[in-house]
């Protein structure tokens, strides 16, 4: 489903070059639930934005669903994002000017879906996250957990094959986090591939596979066990 080989990402500013990812290789199989952990600044978000075609990379190769994405133009990348990928962000990223219904509708409209089909999918996915009674609410009128569930409904409405989540529970308290996690597990059971970045070791253990990132590189699972949380902090760049 998602295969990166010797991938690198360099951020160039006028003074420095930062290697956010270097020799980064990962292979996520169809239907897997992968949790990505690692210290702050290690490159987890960078990995996810490249995986989600939000950003381009500097070297190596990336095949998404068997397609080499390095030569796709902006419109083709938009189309893939729209049809194959669902995003869940730490900050929810709902559109504040739109109510719950209209928020979930956004990706469907970009797909050019007919109104009746849109409505069916919106209602289904909102029901799925338990918010079908809040259609007319604006994001500001919802709790954090509810907002994140709307965001999940928005990601689900387009029936994506791949769900990318960047610390989806990072802004939620434990109880709400557990609810969101259960939802993701449900979605996974129904066949979606999920890659989730998290700081929470407890949530990470609930995924099928853990991938640990340090200094822009994947370190293997065995090594993973060696580090304690305090030691991890020392690896983060100054």
């Amino acid at each position: 489903m998602l295969k990166m080989t010797h991938l690198s990402k360099v951020y160039r500013t006028e003074v420095v070059e930062t290697y956010a990812l270097r020799d980064f290789s990962i292979d996520v199989k169809e239907g897997e639930f992968v949790a990505v952990t690692g210290p702050s600044g290690s490159g987890k978000t960078t990995f996810l934005t490249i995986a989600g075609l939000l950003e381009t990379f500097t070297g190596g190769s990336y095949h998404l669903d068997g397609v080499d994405v390095s030569h796709l133009n902006d419109n083709a990348r938009s189309k893939i994002r729209n049809e194959k990928i669902g995003f869940i962000f730490q900050a929810f990223n709902l559109i504040p000017d739109l109510n719950v219904y209209d928020n979930v509708e956004v990706p469907l409209r970009y797909r050019g879906m007919k109104a009746a089909e849109r409505k069916k999918r919106i209602m289904e996915s909102l029901e799925r996250v338990g918010l079908s009674s809040r259609l007319k609410h604006y994001p500001a009128e919802l709790s954090g957990g509810q907002q994140q569930r709307v965001a999940i409904a928005r990601a689900l409405a387009g029936s994506p094959r791949l769900l990318l989540a960047d610390e989806p529970t990072g802004n939620l308290d434990t109880q709400m986090a557990r609810g969101v996690m259960e939802l993701l597990e449900d979605i996974h059971r129904e066949g979606a591939t999920i890659v989730m970045v998290t700081h929470d070791p407890e949530l990470a253990t609930r995924a099928q596979r853990n991938v640990h990132v340090i200094d822009g590189q994947v370190v293997d699972v065995a090594e993973d066990r060696v580090f304690s949380t305090s030691q991890l902090a020392e690896h983060s760049p100054a």
């Binding site: 939000l54 419109n75 938009s78 189309k79 729209n82 990223n93 559109i95 000017d97 409209r109 970009y110």
Partner: protein, 416 residues
């Protein structure tokens, strides 16, 4: 993207929408009316005088120590002096034609009266302007005779300025002829001037000859002129001169010298004494032209302000929505979808402004009709005005909208 989500989002930004919508409405209302006024002024300035305007100049001069024109002897003496002047001008090699004349189109120095088909009429006059002069009037003006004949030397008489001479023959314009005789040819018919019992026969009809007055009150008879073959003798006189092609300057200078050579006892004003027709025309329409320029400037300023307002507000909104633009990009919007979003949003705001603006435009015109006797604005102006503000809005919004379309998708994860 269709309109529904755009409208839904706009409901949350009412202040900005109303501000720009009203600005567009006001601009539309004012620009439509201003352009209409400009159009009217231009058509006033553009209307034909009926004469051949090139190579034409007018000499106005005063005799110093001239006899009174109220006595027969005085009038005779003045007439001789005028004929000498005209003869001297005619002698000049740069001059083609000369006429002794009382006024000319656009000069705003007029002798107006009322004409009737009945003797001693008390009412039912048709307003007309009188041009007094010799048999060369029509040919020097270059006005076109369409029926009958021009004056000949035998028709011409002379009379003191305030003396009421008989006017056996006259030439009138087609416009006046139609008003006097709506059901048939005026040629050969008898008319009476200013309620007198003395008949005048119409011997010729001129296609078009504008009156000297350009003011609005005279616009109802702007083309109703009467030519009377009488030299009016007074302490001042006017000579209409047609220079040979390309010799205007030379002729104007030579005319001055020639007149002083004939008789130095006269005054010719430095500015107003010898004037080309072009300068008479410019003077007559000075106000119309400056009004048109003022209105044009108002339009340009208003349109520029509206465009700036749209650029400003949209830029602000783009800045405010950078994050959600990134989110939309992440959810599959292409750059063009974002561009279209802002273009459509502006079209919608401008559309509401246009609806209000149309009502305002009609209201302003109505007010001008009632208080300033303006004409009613044809709907075409509104149509063009709407098109202009809509296109302006689309162009103005394009710059910030394109910036929005270039917000990278990664903004969804990176910005705060």
């Amino acid at each position: 993207m269709t309109v529904h989500p755009i409208i839904a989002a706009l409901r949350r930004h009412k202040a900005g929408v109303i501000l720009i919508g009203l600005q567009i409405a006001l601009t539309l209302a004012i620009v439509c009316n201003a352009v209409f006024i400009i159009g009217q002024r231009i058509s006033r300035v553009d209307r034909p005088t009926g004469i051949n305007e090139s190579n034409l100049f007018l000499v106005t001069q005063q005799y110093v120590g001239a006899p009174s024109s109220d006595t027969k002897a005085g009038a005779d003496k003045l007439d001789t002096m005028e004929l000498e002047d005209a003869a001297a001008l005619r002698q000049l090699p740069s001059v083609a034609k000369v006429s002794v004349i009382s006024s000319m189109p656009l000069l705003n120095s007029a002798w107006n009266g009322g004409m009737s088909t009945k003797p001693q009429a008390k009412s039912g006059f048709k307003m007309t302007t009188y041009y007094f002069g010799d048999q060369n009037m029509l040919s020097t003006l270059g006005a076109q005779l369409v029926a009958g004949r021009d004056f000949n030397a035998g028709d011409v008489q002379h009379a003191g300025f305030r003396t009421d001479a008989k006017r056996p023959v006259v030439i009138v314009t087609q416009s006046l002829a139609h008003k006097l005789f709506p059901n048939g040819s005026a040629l050969g018919k008898t008319v009476y001037m200013d309620g007198s019992g003395s008949p005048s026969t119409i011997i010729g009809i001129v296609k078009r000859l504008q009156t000297p007055s350009t003011s609005d009150w005279a616009s109802s008879f702007a083309y109703d002129s009467t030519l009377i073959p009488t030299r009016k003798d007074a302490f001042f006189s006017r000579y209409l001169v047609r220079a040979k092609p390309g010799q205007m300057k030379a002729a104007m200078a030579a005319a001055h010298d020639a007149l002083f050579k004939v008789n130095p006892m006269r005054v010719i004003d430095d500015d107003m004494g010898i004037r080309s027709f072009a300068s008479i025309r410019a003077e007559a329409y000075k106000q119309d032209v400056s009004m048109a320029i003022l209105m044009g400037a108002v339009c340009i300023i208003l349109l520029a302000l509206t465009a700036a307002g749209i650029v400003g507000l949209t830029s602000f909104w783009v800045g405010q929505r950078t994050k959600q633009i990134g989110v939309r990009r992440a959810l599959g919007a292409r750059g063009i979808d974002i561009l279209r979003y802002f273009q459509l949003e502006n079209l919608f705001i401008a559309g509401m402004g246009v609806v209000v603006g149309l009502l305002l435009a009609i209201g302003v015109n109505q007010w001008l009709v009632q208080h300033f006797e303006m004409d009613r604005m044809p709907l075409g102006y509104l149509f063009v005005g709407v098109l202009v503000v809509l296109v302006l809005g689309q162009l103005a919004v394009f710059v910030p909208a394109r910036r929005a379309s270039r917000v990278p998708p990664v903004t969804a994860t990176r910005s705060v």
